[in-house]
């Protein structure tokens, strides 16, 4: 997330990019709340790259990557209906319509685009 880098006296900021980690558990809510126990009951845990990509695009992403902490977002309960249930799901639905066979990188690019658009409203915020 936006670590400054310096080269030849010129500073730049690395652009934000969503990414996967690995998880040994499919209990993604447990994974998220282990990392952010103070948020339990306050946020809806959402997969940045949606879980259903496992069904839609078999072999592109693993279950371990999908449920990794790096792919989980906390959406405050009070904005979940508007942000998660409506806007984000529709964005992914359009992506599925337009992308018959995306690569893992393309899935992450879409997740990044969504993070940059809505991530400032997540808890904790993401997207730089």
């Amino acid at each position: 997330m936006g670590e400054p880098s310096f080269r030849s006296g010129v500073s730049s900021v690395n652009p934000y990019e969503g990414r996967f980690g690995t998880s040994t558990s499919t209990d993604y809510r447990g994974t998220f709340f282990d990392a952010h126990p103070e948020l339990e009951g306050k946020v809806w845990v959402h997969h940045a790259v949606e879980q259903q990509t496992l069904t839609r695009y078999p072999g592109v992403v693993t279950e371990s990557e999908i449920h990794s902490l790096e792919n989980l977002r906390g959406i405050p309960n009070e904005i979940n209906p508007e942000v998660h249930l409506s806007n984000i799901r529709k964005e992914w639905n359009q992506f599925y319509r337009q992308n018959p066979a995306p690569t893992q990188q393309q899935l992450l690019q879409k997740a990044t685009e969504i993070d940059l658009k809505y991530g400032w409203r997540f808890t904790p915020p993401v997207g730089g």
Binding site: R29, L54, T55, L85, S86, R89
Partner: protein, 142 residues
């Protein structure tokens, strides 16, 4: 008759029991499993390439002889998150809306870009049953 592009509410996604042929696009679904992860209350829902409607909507659409639509069985489940957060949630009965019509001619059709196209008549049926979260834009009058 007026026709509209419709992007319905997306209340979840394709569940793991969905069977589809991905060798074509849009993929051909032979068994539909829709997993809810929340529901804002609309009577027609999408998870590309499939649509579902409440059974009440089906009855009303069939009563007026809506064209371009067939109906089938859908397996409905609630996600783990939804079950934990809203344990008392009762979903109405839903059926699979299989769109087989021609966009701009039938009450239900699919445009070249894959979006759903519905007639004004179909909208008039669906609106009173819940359509607050669908995006609509003009398809034009052929």
């Amino acid at each position: 008759m007026k026709y509209f592009f419709m992007e319905p509410e997306v209340a979840g996604g394709l569940g793991k029991n969905t069977i589809m042929d991905r060798s074509t696009h849009p993929p051909i679904v032979s068994k539909l499993h829709y997993e809810f992860d929340g529901w804002l209350g609309d009577a027609i829902l999408e998870s590309f390439p499939s649509f579902i409607v409440t059974d009440e909507a089906r009855r009303n659409l069939q009563a007026v002889g809506a064209t371009g639509a067939a109906f089938g069985t859908v397996e409905i489940t609630a996600s783990e998150s939804l079950r934990e957060r809203q344990p008392g949630l009762k979903l109405p009965a839903f059926v699979w809306l299989q769109v087989k019509g021609v966009a701009g001619r039938d009450d239900f059709g699919i445009a070249q870009d894959g979006r759903l196209v519905v007639s004004e008549r179909a909208l008039d049926i669906l609106r009173p049953l819940g359509l607050s979260h669908a995006d609509l834009s003009n398809f034009g009058e052929p």
